[in-house]
Symmetry: C2
Subunit: 123 residues, 2 copies
DNA sequence: GTACAACCTCGACCTCACTTGAGGTCAAGG
DNA sequence: CCTTGACCTCAAGTGAGGTCGAGGTTGTAC
């Protein structure tokens, strides 16, 4: 009658710990389909959603943002994803700047970055 | 005699708040040159270091990592930067995966991402 | 000589994403 | 009957990176 999953099975299927799953339920990110004898029962489709959560998290989305994307019914998530993409690109640009800055410092002959008197200007 | 700066001047020059500068002093990330009447006095070169901190932070380094780079005397920071670059690249890859996943979902005709029965598989 | 801004310390508090611990329930197996 | 294991709740703790407020001092201006 039920192909619903216990929390432990979901944890095993997703690699997410049981306590994290309870936490996700608590913050209403991933809710179980129902309860049997007080115990959470999850639809197998939850596994897909949880995988989505982890993947989105890995790309820099907060749980709040992820919930907004999951629950969005107006197509706004396209915009959110675009924003995040822009943020990541900007972060990449920052890295490039930092690397160049460090390269400059390394050409200074300074033993220690903190002691370089030419931070962050050109050497 | 002293072209040393008060904490407020440093805050203004860097855009970092006074309380954050005190915090940086507390965690020994950016120390004042000395004290005059109990008040912190900063070398103008601190501004460069603080700018470096913010820039490194923006690219994803933690304050601990930044301190390690600043204080490094063995050339290990090159490696740290390379590691961070790799991490950023991997993050970018994750974003690409997420975007593709969301595009798949959007072609499903699902109103709400959370309700798509095909997460995270192909539509 | 007193007002005022800018500084000081110390400890508490905040957000995020969890983890941990104490104490309790429930069904199956020996 | 008793243990084991998987589950439950609720509260508190963690760590990063700060912020805030109370209460106190310092230095300059009028």
């Amino acid at each position: 009658m039920s192909d619903l999953l216990a929390i432990g099975a979901v944890a095993e299927a997703t690699g997410v710990s049981v306590s994290t799953l309870r936490y996700y339920d608590q913050i209403k990110l991933i809710a179980p389909t129902g309860r049997v004898g007080g115990k959470r029962r999850f639809d197998p489709a939850s596994i897909g959603r949880i995988n989505f959560v982890r993947r989105a998290q890995a790309t820099g989305f907060s749980l709040e943002e992820i919930r907004a994307i999951l629950d969005d019914s107006d197509g706004n998530w396209n915009e959110m994803v675009a924003d995040k993409l822009a943020a990541l690109r900007s972060q990449r640009g920052e890295l490039d700047v930092t690397i160049r800055m460090l390269e400059e410092v390394s050409h200074c002959g300074c033993q220690v970055v903190a002691e370089c008197p030419r931070l962050p200007g050109p050497c």
